[in-house]
């Protein structure tokens, strides 16, 4: 039998039909050694308060649904072990997003931005199927691979002070995904994405705080993508001034 410890979970509740502001609610939860924050939330929902709302799906850091603030830090609830925390754990919805209900946030803004960056392979002309697949070398794959690991969990948006101060900013992970396709040897959509990337709301709102990369649970390093795009956008800009083309 593993050791069971009773902790206090302070959960920020917001029920739009009755609350004008979010309020903290405390629950006593007996938790075994191996529990993560998500297990404790499941315990609350199944045994204490079925009205608690939160998003989750895979319970293994793949789906990106259960991002929330745990003791003030953006975390995946399924990847955050309670044994590493004190006797009181505070759980709040992801910062910088409107709260829909309890721990569920509204992410429409992000989805719109992601869509506008065309995060898919764009070809000027598609190769006929009978000519086979697009081949890539190991190096060509390696170039963008880390950016494919993004699970859209939005922890980076919750950590980004520039997004907090100005939600018009396209933000870390959407830009990192644009970079992922720009770097792909099969892709020809750079110029189309650049319209968003090099706009005011694009990379130029970033001041390289680096918080996005520090909190990323998949080590995607969006800050790196954004700085690289600043450099390429700057080169582009001056080349265009000189009348050249990229």
């Amino acid at each position: 039998m593993s050791e069971v410890r009773t902790i206090t979970m302070e959960v920020l509740r917001y029920r739009p039909e009755r609350d004008s502001d979010p309020v903290l609610q405390s629950y006593r939860v007996p938790c075994p050694q191996e529990w993560v924050v998500l297990d404790a939330l499941d315990y609350i929902k199944n045994n204490i308060d079925s009205s608690l709302s939160y998003r989750w799906s895979c319970h293994m850091a793949v789906c990106g649904s259960c991002g929330m603030m745990v003791n003030g830090e953006p975390m995946l609830a399924c990847k955050t072990f309670l044994r590493e925390m004190g006797d009181t754990v505070r759980v709040e919805p992801l910062l910088n997003f409107p709260i829909e209900r309890d721990l569920v946030v509204v992410i429409d803004d992000f989805l719109e931005k992601l869509k506008s960056l065309k995060p898919y392979i764009i070809r000027k002309t598609e190769k006929p199927v009978e000519e086979g697949t697009y081949l890539q070398t190991k190096a060509q794959l390696k170039r963008f691979k880390q950016y494919t690991l993004c699970i859209n969990c939005l922890l980076c948006y919750a950590a980004c002070p520039q997004y907090a101060l100005n939600t018009d900013f396209i933000g870390p992970s959407a830009l990192a995904l644009a970079h992922r396709y720009n770097l792909d040897s099969r892709d020809e959509g750079y110029a189309m994405r650049q319209e968003m990337v090099a706009s005011h709301e694009g990379v130029w709102e970033c001041s390289f705080v680096g918080a996005c990369s520090e909190v990323c649970p998949k080590h995607v390093d969006p800050a790196s993508a954004v700085q690289q795009m600043k450099i390429t956008s700057t080169k582009d800009y001056f080349l265009r001034l000189l009348g050249g083309k990229r």
Partner: protein, 132 residues
């Protein structure tokens, strides 16, 4: 059911006090104040230099006052912090591929630190030796 999303207020003037990583960021950004003032001193020194020996000697005497020394010691500390934070992120800003893999970030940082040391030594050497 009608929706009523709740938007939490952002403390526009105190957000950076909420987390150490934001404080470190603000310290990094504030290094520019010292670098800016120092470039002003440098350009003022050039102005004095262009006005002849008397002005220039007066300028150099001003640098020996306690106030100037205290400022320069602070500026030195912040300049070091700027250099370290600037070079430490070079692998993120300029990742480099060699063959099928990325060059290790720590190597990129070490090369920048080496360049920093080399440039510093060249400047120091030319001040001490060249023309002495």
């Amino acid at each position: 059911m009608s929706r009523k999303p709740y938007i939490r207020p952002v403390p526009k003037t105190s957000w950076y006090r909420k987390h150490d990583r934001y404080k470190r960021y603000i310290i990094r950004e504030v290094t520019c104040i010292f670098i800016g003032i120092y470039t002003a001193i440098l350009s003022f020194g050039l102005l004095n230099l262009s006005e002849g020996q008397e002005s220039f000697d007066l300028f150099m005497a001003t640098l020996r006052t306690p106030g100037a020394l205290v400022f320069h010691l602070f500026a030195l500390a912040f300049a070091f912090y700027h250099s370290a934070t600037w070079f430490n992120v070079t692998p993120q800003a300029m990742p480099l591929m060699k063959g099928d893999d990325f060059v290790s970030g720590s190597l990129i940082i070490r090369v920048h630190y080496a360049a920093w040391a080399a440039v510093s030594l060249v400047i120091l050497f030319s001040v001490i030796v060249v023309g002495a």
